[in-house]
């Protein structure tokens, strides 16, 4: 009782440090969530600027703006920043903000570790971005850093890349531990596992994936480090190693990583679609089991990234079929979302628009993934722009759209203000059109034979590349509207009630808007 009184007094008296110290020393899940989200927005624009350089160079055939080595650095760092700097921290930020609110916890279970896991991230990316300005340049071997390109033949700054990835990995693992411990220990009385909101469920499973595979990534980069600097031969055939083993280890991390970036997105869409359909989520249980099945299957499909490396036929068949199997639980999810909307009382607020776009466009990305899973077809598609189109459909119109939807959905709760709806709708429509102009023609150039990661291309690809680049510039510029909306919403606007969206369900809508600095000091009762 004393304890809860004490906590109560804290929530009213704000005796935290002010200014920069508030953010440096904070152990508050909402502050750290905001830090993560702000950081990932910054990274989205840095990575986006690199994408603009790539698309500007590819606007016309020939080399106009950058030399091929710098181009490779751009593709590499664009990938690393978007995966580790934009998408993953954004989801961790949303987890920080929303999981305690959704399960009725006062904060994350390990608040100091929470602080640390965020504050090492800026250092990781400062190292990575700093290497771009050093002699020899940044990493130029693709975000997949295949050996021996990243070992024997890489530049002297590879160690910086390795350390930077190590730090990102540590940060992710700590974030994941925090999520698991919070969910298992701090749920409000009465909230059983099967009563948890979908977003919490997907994050719980994602956190297990993170803990399982981030150490594998750390191992991979460490082997790259010792191969390059200490004379080991993990990936060097001359010393008895095997360059293909690198790819096995990397993709054992890399494929679950794909689901790390999409499972929380599933959780977000499963939260938003019922809210604006004014119905309960269709098939909640099947949704949970589908998520768990995807997570399990994600560990036994890794070699579908490596069909052209010369695997035995039996392995090719196994990985083909196991990959196709993933489409079953994913199909269950898509079906459930559509079934949730079926005969619902639909309204099309901005978060719902982005969620519906997610469902349609992610499905396109999923279907092209199914095409890529077919081994003999993959011989043709592998390492072409078709693959680029595929993973941008699942990552941009998938993960990124869900993050944007989540921000529009919960931002009024964070700030207490409604965003500029008209501007947000313009943002949606511009993004929707430009993103398809950007990525859809990539399917065609890929099928026509344009390999990925090239700075110059054959003349027959010129027209499509110009269209793609124009779509790219338009999509990049449209995101400035997003920043405008976010900044405007944080500065003020029309005040919103506790339950911002009338169909929304969940504990987060029980607390005031904006959410008080400390919430649920006394756990709520779940019936």
């Amino acid at each position: 009782m004393d304890d809860s009184m004490h906590q109560h007094s804290e929530s009213t008296d704000h005796h935290q440090p002010s200014g920069i110290k508030r953010w440096l020393y904070t152990t508050n899940h909402k502050d750290i969530g905001t830090l993560y989200l702000g950081f990932s927005l910054l990274m989205l624009f840095i990575g986006g600027a690199m994408a603009m350089v790539i698309r500007a160079e590819l606007f016309q055939p020939g080399l106009q703006l950058v030399d091929p080595n710098f181009f490779n650095q751009m593709t590499t760092v664009h990938g690393l920043i978007m995966v580790f700097g934009a998408v993953m921290p954004a989801f961790v930020g949303l987890a920080n903000w929303m999981i305690p609110l959704m399960i009725g916890a006062p904060d994350m279970a390990l608040p100091r570790m929470n602080n640390w896991s965020f504050w090492i991230l800026p250092f990781a990316f400062a190292i990575l971005l700093g290497s771009l300005f050093m002699d020899g340049g940044g990493p130029n071997f693709g975000w997949t850093f295949y050996a021996p390109l990243s070992t024997t033949y890489s530049n002297d700054n590879t160690a910086l890349f390795v350390f930077s990835v190590h730090i990102m990995g540590i940060s992710s693992i700590m974030g994941a531990i925090n999520v698991i411990v919070t969910i298992f220990n701090l749920r409000a009385p009465g909230m059983t596992l099967m009563k948890m909101p979908m977003f919490v469920w997907t994050w719980l499973i994602t956190a297990f994936l993170l803990i399982a595979v981030m150490p594998v990534l750390a191992g991979t980069v460490t082997m790259v480090l010792t191969d390059k600097y200490f004379g080991t031969s993990f990936f060097n055939a001359m010393g008895g190693g095997d360059p293909v083993m690198f790819q096995h280890i990397f993709w054992f991390f890399g494929h679950p990583e794909v689901y790390i970036m999409i499972l929380p997105a599933f959780g977000i869409v499963s939260t938003i679609v019922p809210a604006f359909s004014r119905k309960k989520l269709f098939g909640y249980h099947s949704m949970v089991y589908a998520t768990a099945s995807i997570a399990f299957l994600s560990f036994i499909v890794w070699a579908h990234h490596m069909f052209t490396t010369g695997m035995p036929l039996a392995a090719e068949l196994f990985f083909m079929y196991s990959t196709m199997l993933i489409s079953v639980p994913t199909g269950v999810k898509v079906f459930n979302w559509v079934a949730t909307m079926w005969r619902g009382s639909l309204s099309f607020e901005v978060p719902m628009l982005f969620s519906i776009a997610f469902i349609v466009l992610f499905t396109i990305g999923g279907l092209s993934g199914l095409m890529l899973a077919i081994t003999p077809a993959d011989f043709q598609y592998h390492d072409t722009y078709f693959v680029v189109a595929h993973f941008h459909y699942v990552l941009v119109t998938g993960a990124l759209f869900s993050i944007i939807a989540a921000v529009y959905y919960w931002m009024p709760k964070w700030t207490g203000n409604m965003f500029n709806i008209r501007l947000a709708k313009i943002h949606f429509w511009l993004s929707l059109i430009s993103v398809n102009v950007l990525f859809f023609p990539m399917h065609f150039v890929g099928l026509a034979g344009m390999p990925r990661r090239i700075a110059d291309y054959a003349l027959q690809f010129a027209d499509f590349n110009m269209i793609i680049s124009l779509g790219g510039f338009a999509f990049g510029l449209s995101q400035l509207l997003f920043v405008w909306c976010v900044v405007e919403c944080f500065r003020g606007g029309e005040k919103v009630p506790a339950r911002v969206w009338d169909g929304a369900e969940g504990l987060e809508w029980e607390v005031a808007s904006p959410a008080p600095y400390h919430t649920f000091s006394t756990p709520p009762e779940i019936k």
């Binding site: 002699d135 340049g137 390109l149 700054n157 055939a237 095997d242 010369g310 011989f379 043709q380």
Partner: protein, 331 residues
């Protein structure tokens, strides 16, 4: 068709979209793939696995021909290699002046070395070492030759033995030792580079100049087997269509005012050795170029045979050995 892939440096991927075959070339391992190509022709593709800064500039060309044509092509290639070997052997006793070597060396350097080491020889700090400030360019000549010819293991510096002739190698090394104000005054001659080759025991670094010395007799003899007239005519018609008909026309009538008539011309009705000579060496001050070194003796023999027997004329059969005598005679 069966393909075997491997790589000298990083992982590449061999891909020709029309074949729907893509396979990684992994250093230290050999990969295999196969395909059936039904239509002869030139097929193009490019490297599909990120392999460094020049990944976008790695074209792949497959020239698909029927088994019969492939046999002929093989014979022709062997012969060209043998001719090249003869030229290389001849270079052993020739010395070039500094000016000659420097001029050629500059071209070779620009084409092969300057992408990494930069036109000014200063390299790119952190990526590609400078030649200008390097002890290699000013130190021991043998070491310099060794690094250019054999490459440097574990770095992006590849071996150029297979890619450049001994004259080009000599020129580029001379250039590197005397350009950019280095002026060491060292002159490297083709024979210096060749000696280095033959003393090298590594089997991978065999170059055409050393290899055929033992087998040259065999290699040269093979293609000079006499062919019968029908075969020569068939081969000749093909080669004529490919190389001569553009100007002289398929009918042998030429284009009045621009390209002379062959049919019933003094060349065709005159002595054979003059005919062979004009095909081999061309005709000065005209558009007629020499085909020595471009076509094999067999092909030239076939063309001459064809020209003397086509268009209603019935003439002599010329064999490759006769052409070869004239090639040798000129040297």
């Amino acid at each position: 068709m069966r393909f075997l892939f491997t790589s000298d440096d990083v992982i590449h991927a061999w891909w020709i979209p029309d074949f729907a075959v893509k396979k990684d070339a992994v250093p230290g391992f050999i990969n295999e793939a196969w395909t059936n190509v039904n239509v002869e022709g030139i097929y193009r593709g490019q490297c599909a696995e990120l392999c460094g800064k020049s990944h976008g500039f790695m074209p792949i060309v497959a020239d698909v021909r029927s088994p019969e044509e492939f046999e002929l092509w093989l014979i022709e290639q062997k012969e060209l290699v043998a001719q090249q070997a003869q030229q290389e052997a001849a270079l052993k006793d020739v010395s070039f002046t500094m000016d000659e070597l420097m001029t050629l060396g500059k071209d070779v350097y620009t084409a092969n070395c300057s992408v990494c080491h930069q036109p000014g020889g200063q390299g790119l700090p952190g990526l590609f070492p400078s030649i200008k400030d390097s002890p290699i360019a000013t130190g021991d000549v043998q070491e310099h030759i060794d690094i250019v010819v054999n490459g440097k293991a574990g770095s992006a510096m590849q071996a150029f033995a297979k890619q450049l002739s001994s004259k080009q190698l000599a020129a580029v090394i001379t250039y590197e030792r005397n350009a950019w104000g280095l002026n060491t005054g060292d002159l490297v001659q083709p024979k210096d580079v060749q000696t280095d080759d033959s003393s090298d025991t590594k089997p991978t670094i065999e170059t055409p100049p050393t290899e055929p010395n033992l087998d040259s007799a065999k290699v040269i003899e093979d293609p000079l087997v006499d062919l019968d007239k029908t075969k020569l005519m068939e081969l000749g018609e093909q080669a004529y269509t490919e190389h001569c008909a553009m100007c002289h026309q398929a009918s042998g009538l030429g284009l009045p005012g621009a390209f002379p008539v062959l049919k019933d011309s003094p060349v065709i009705n005159g002595p054979i050795d003059k005919h062979i000579d004009i095909v081999l060496n061309g005709k000065e001050m005209t558009a007629m170029q020499g085909y020595k070194g471009k076509l094999s003796a067999t092909t030239i023999a076939a063309i001459v045979t064809y020209e003397r027997n086509a268009w209603g004329r019935s003439g002599e059969v010329i064999q490759a050995s006769e052409v070869n005598v004239q090639i040798k005679g000129a040297e």
